[in-house]
């Protein structure tokens, strides 16, 4: 059996966080929300580019699945700077589906299409929370039917 060493490392970060400071947690979070809000336009435009790319790739045969996975993954990250409820869920579902296909599940291009269409509906949309949940429920139903 191999030797196991257990120890508690001393971290500079621990010492730093023990020191009292001027910025409270709530103030730090408020500032962070402001910073994210300031980035909203950049993130919206970046999602536009990724969605246009996905729509283009959907029409390509065979679909470049790795590239589409990457776009889905980037959209999830960009949602950090957006208030588009549900867009990250649809993008995550797309990544999940592509991952399953790359692992051997048969590809159904229509499912890719439903994902991209759902993301288009959720992006830059004035839809309220209930309408967004309805879109996501429809998407989940399609995914469940094909699983």
């Amino acid at each position: 059996m191999s030797a196991v060493r257990k120890f508690r490392p001393k971290l500079a970060l621990t010492a730093m966080m023990k020191k009292a400071g001027d910025i409270s947690a709530s103030e730090a979070l408020r500032r962070a929300d402001e910073a994210l809000h300031a980035m909203e336009d950049v993130c919206l435009n970046a999602v536009d580019v990724e969605l246009a790319g996905l729509e283009q790739e959907l029409r390509t045969a065979p679909q470049p699945l790795e590239q589409m996975y990457k776009r889905g993954s980037d959209i999830i990250g960009l949602c950090g700077g957006l208030s588009a409820e549900g867009l990250d869920v649809a993008a995550h579902s797309l990544c999940d589906y592509i991952d399953r296909v790359l692992e051997g599940e048969a590809l159904d291009v229509r499912i890719l299409g439903v994902h991209v269409a759902s993301m288009r509906l959720l992006h830059r949309s004035q839809a309220d929370s209930a309408a967004r949940q309805e879109i996501l429920a429809g998407l989940a139903k399609v995914c469940a039917k094909r699983a």
């Binding site: 191999s2 508690r8 001027d22 980037d74």
Partner: protein
């Protein structure tokens, strides 16, 4: 959440992501927490070179990146990184974990794996957890990193509120159902024929 963060202004933090906007989101949130020294890298290879040249107090890295991903970078950091940096807190931030990467994620030695989209609240909470955690580091032939094992005895002492929504509280209540009878217990371990 409580605490104050002027102290973070002295922290030297490395952030790694191949997506520029994602990198800026991370940097923007950290700057709001008072962090002044943020070093950016766009992939694991660049991050490796930076870690070999300077030391950091915290590393935040994306999981999926070309050439060297976040899991491989943290694994390298723990096993082959400069001595002073091997225990550096490292958070992996991931949009989606592929089924084939689940074990890689578990075994790379990261302190926490955080799901995107990144929210300030979650990021701040994880930084505080890492800073205040009393977790042991484990070094053996097959693993180097924070102890991954949590006994099924409620949440770890340093997080009495629990880390997950379904964590059982430390104080257990009354049983919800009556105890099993001796016959029921015997039946649980009774040898049974296997039909072929």
């Amino acid at each position: 959440m409580s605490g104050s963060f002027q102290a973070l202004e002295k922290a030297n933090i490395l952030i790694v992501d191949d997506n520029n906007q994602a990198l800026e989101i991370m940097a923007g949130v950290l700057m709001s927490f008072g962090v002044r020294n943020i070093v950016r890298a766009s992939n694991g290879i660049d991050a490796k070179e930076l870690v070999e040249r300077q030391s950091f107090d915290l590393i935040l890295t994306d999981a999926q990146m070309p050439e060297m991903d976040g899991y491989d970078f943290v694994r390298w950091l723990r096993r082959e990184g400069p001595e002073a940096m091997r225990v550096c807190p490292a958070l992996i931030i991931t949009s989606h974990t592929r089924r084939s990467e689940v074990f890689k994620a578990r075994d790379c030695g990261a302190n926490f794996i955080v799901a995107k989209p990144l929210t300030p609240n979650v990021l701040l909470q994880r930084i505080m957890w890492v800073a205040r955690s009393d977790r042991m580091f484990i070094e053996c032939d097959t693993y180097f990193g924070p102890d991954r094992r949590y006994k099924n005895q409620g949440p770890p002492p340093e997080f009495p509120e629990g880390r997950r929504r379904d964590d059982v509280p430390i104080e257990l209540g009354e049983p919800a159902e009556p105890n099993l009878s001796q016959d029921e217990l015997d039946n649980l371990i009774k040898p049974q024929k296997v039909s072929t």
